[in-house]
Amino acid sequence: MAKTFAQLGFPGRLIAVEGLDGSGKSTQIYLLKRWLELQGLKVFFSEWNSSELVKSATSKGKKQALLTPTTFSLIHATDFADRYERQLVPLLRAGYLVLCDRYVFTAFARDTVRGCPAEWVRALYSFAAHPDLTFFFKAHLEVSLQRILVGRPQLKYFEAGMDLKLSPDPEESFRIFQGRLLEQYLAMSTEFNFHLIDANQPVEVQQSVVREIVASRIHLAGFAGAAPAAPL
């Protein structure tokens, strides 16, 4: 079992949110970030799949449908490693609260559903320490699907899991794919100490649960430093 940043003696703490597309996790982590910033704490927010160099390769791969499950997995691991080594680790060394919208568990779920051996994927990411807190936003599958499907003219090829040939219909493919991802996430939940949040509840109810857990698990006063952010 990989160690958390606290267990490795880092002064910083990493909080990750995971969940299906449309589970509302990004809204929740944004609200958590605002709450921490308004207290004048040192906070940094990071998203999955955002570094420039790798983005250029993935977009090319997506365009040309060149990616196989293995190269899909490796290119995202490369992207993550870049962010991990250049951004997350230095900030955690400097005593920041780092908030991650998705972490290695996204890869564990996604790459496994695509057919990569689970042990291989886990070993691939073994260079990364685990979050000090991981929230999993669990919504009814149908609710998440509706949030994504409404108001989106077209699902992207990989997002819909079209490469898995589950169904020629993108919407149907997306449903099956998300269903499989959910199974993978739930199977990991105990092993990686996910805090399950009922994402069918109102935004405010979820956010108060999240803040309560963060406040009880992390000594927030120790992260003061930056000047308080201006109120919105």
Partner: protein, 253 residues
């Protein structure tokens, strides 16, 4: 058929008319491998030539290609940093020296996997002789010199096919340095391991780095069985050696 030997006519025939059909051997992966590959359908042979820049790798491969084609075998070549997927990005990253070690390792692994799935395996399936100008061992040795975890690398490259033959052209660092100067009058930043800060002097750094690489290759040889070929000899002598060994591979030995 042997009733009327006609030595005169036989002498006039084109050389090497007898084409050897390679004996198929079921391939295997080093570790977890890749999903959905039918290993018993890979009837070609994977031949790897490893060695530092200036070890004579490329010219040995060129000679082997000519020889194999003359004997009726179809060939394909692969090498590091030749994937459609990330070649350009890797070049960019190397020029800027902006990526950290794990990222660089994974980037190279992506490049390797792309060629493995899109070139090597399809070619082997079609019965080609695939000549690889370096393979996972160079990538692993480079990472090991830079402090990577060996178990992590082993699992990562568990996707790789076990080649039918691996030749490591071992050349002493002093000979390497001379050959590099003879060829380009300059030493390469990465081949000199300048990112490691072994020495501020490039010449010194090159010698130190190549010694470290040789150490790692010697270590890797214990886990990954490969032939160490004395690369300090003449190109002809080395090539004769390689041909003899490849001949055995073609006959399934």
């Amino acid at each position: 058929m042997k009733r009327h030997p006609a030595p005169a006519r036989r002498r006039a025939a084109a050389p090497a008319t007898r084409i050897i059909v390679p004996v198929p051997v079921t391939h295997r992966f080093y570790g977890h491998g890749l999903p959905d590959v039918e290993l018993d359908k890979l009837s070609g042979k994977l031949i790897v030539v490893e060695g530092a820049d200036g070890s004579g790798r490329s010219s040995q491969i060129a000679r082997l290609v000519g020889w194999l084609e003359g004997r009726g075998h179809a060939t394909t070549q692969v090498g590091l940093k030749r994937s459609t997927l990330v070649r350009e990005e890797l070049d960019q990253a190397q020029n800027g020296n902006i990526l950290s070690h794990t990222t660089m390792s994974l980037f190279y692994a992506t490049d390797f996997a792309d060629q493995l799935e899109n070139v090597i395996i399809p070619a082997l399936r079609a019965g080609f002789m695939v000549l690889a100008d370096r393979y996972i061992y160079t990538l692993m040795a480079r990472d090991l010199v830079r402090g990577a975890d060996e178990d992590w690398l082993k699992s990562l490259y568990g996707i790789a096919l076990v080649p039918d033959a691996v030749f490591y052209l071992k050349v002493s660092p002093d000979v390497l340095v001379q050959r590099n100067f003879a060829k380009k009058h300059a030493l390469d930043y990465w081949e000199s391991g300048m990112d490691l800060g072994l020495s501020r002097d490039m010449f010194d750094s090159f010698l130190k780095y190549q010694r470290l690489m040789i150490e790692q290759f010697d270590r890797l040889r214990r886990a990954y069985d490969f032939d160490i070929v004395d690369g300090d000899r003449s190109p002809e002598a080395i090539n004769a050696d390689l041909r003899r060994k490849i001949e055995a591979v073609l006959q399934g030995r």
